[in-house]
C-alpha cells in the first residue's frame, strides 16, 4: 500500500509558480500518480495524472523522476482562485487502496 507524504500547507502570491512535492517511497510498478484539487464545500476535481517523466496539460505540469519515489505538481502563475487543497494519490485501480490523505492547503495571497 503506497503511502504519500505532502506538506500540510503552502503560501504563495499571485503570479508566482507553485511547486508541491509528494513523496511516495513505496510506489508499486503498476501505480499511477494522480493529483486532485478541492475547494471548500465541493468535491475534489481531477487535475493531472502521470506514470513517469513529465506530463503537462492546460492547468498544470507533473514531474516524476526516474525512481518514481516522488512527484511534483507545478502550477504556473497562480491566482487567488487556485487557493484550495491539493491531494496526491498513488494507486493502480484497486479501489480498497484509494487514500486521499490530508492534502496540501495552498493559500494564494494578493
Amino acid at each position: 500500500l503506497a503511502k504519500t507524504t505532502q506538506p500540510i500547507s503552502m503560501d504563495s502570491y499571485e503570479g508566482q509558480e507553485v511547486n508541491i512535492t509528494c513523496s511516495h517511497n513505496n510506489i508499486a510498478t503498476n501505480d499511477y500518480i494522480t493529483w486532485y484539487q478541492q475547494f471548500p464545500s465541493q468535491g475534489p476535481r481531477f487535475i493531472i495524472q502521470g506514470y513517469k517523466t513529465k506530463v503537462t496539460n492546460e492547468v498544470a505540469s507533473l514531474f516524476i523522476p526516474a525512481d518514481r519515489k516522488s512527484s511534483t505538481l507545478s502550477l504556473p502563475r497562480v491566482s487567488l482562485s487556485d487557493t484550495a487543497v491539493y491531494y496526491c494519490l498513488v494507486y493502480s485501480g484497486g479501489y480498497n487502496k484509494l487514500i486521499f490523505g490530508a492534502g496540501t492547503r495552498l493559500a494564494v495571497h494578493p
Binding site: 499511477y32 494522480t34 486532485y36 464545500s41 465541493q42 468535491g43 475534489p44 476535481r45 481531477f46 495524472q49 506514470y51 491531494y87 494507486y91 493502480s92 485501480g93 479501489y95 480498497n96 487502496k97 484509494l98 487514500i99 486521499f100 490523505g101 490530508a102 492534502g103
Partner: protein, 117 residues
C-alpha cells in the same frame, strides 16, 4: 465536464431517523463511490460499486448501506442516524481507461453535508 448530482446538498435531521442520500450520474460510468469527509480532514472511501448489483465496503467502516440497481443511481442509506454520522458525504463515478492508459479518473458530486442532532 462531468455530470454527477447529489441531493440534498444539506440535511439536518434528528437522531434515529432513516435517511437516504441520493447520487446520480449521467455519464454511463460503471464505477461509483461514496466518500466521507469531516471538515478539514481526509476523504475516506466507505463504499464502492463496479456496476449494477455490485457493492463493496471501502477502507473506512461505515454503518451506512448502499445499493446499485441502476447504472446511473447509487443511493446511500442510514437506517438510524446518530450524531456520529455528522459529516460530508461525497459521491463519485469513474470509467475504466483501459490497460496501460492510467487509472480511472474520478468525477465527484458537490457533496451532501449531513448534520444529525
Amino acid at each position: 465536464e462531468a455530470d454527477i448530482y447529489q441531493t440534498p446538498r444539506y440535511l439536518v435531521i434528528g437522531t434515529g431517523k432513516k435517511i437516504t442520500l441520493e447520487c446520480s450520474q449521467t455519464m454511463g460510468h460503471d464505477k461509483m463511490y461514496w466518500y466521507q469527509q469531516d471538515p478539514g480532514m481526509e476523504l475516506h472511501l466507505i463504499h464502492y460499486s463496479y456496476g449494477v448489483n455490485s457493492t463493496e465496503k471501502g477502507d473506512l467502516s461505515s454503518e451506512s448501506t448502499v445499493s446499485r440497481i441502476r447504472t446511473e443511481h447509487f443511493p446511500l442509506t442510514l437506517e438510524s442516524a446518530r450524531p456520529s454520522h455528522t459529516s460530508q458525504y461525497l459521491c463519485a463515478s469513474s470509467e475504466y481507461r483501459g490497460s496501460g492508459l492510467g487509472t480511472d479518473t474520478q468525477y465527484f458530486g458537490p457533496g451532501t453535508r449531513l448534520t444529525v442532532l
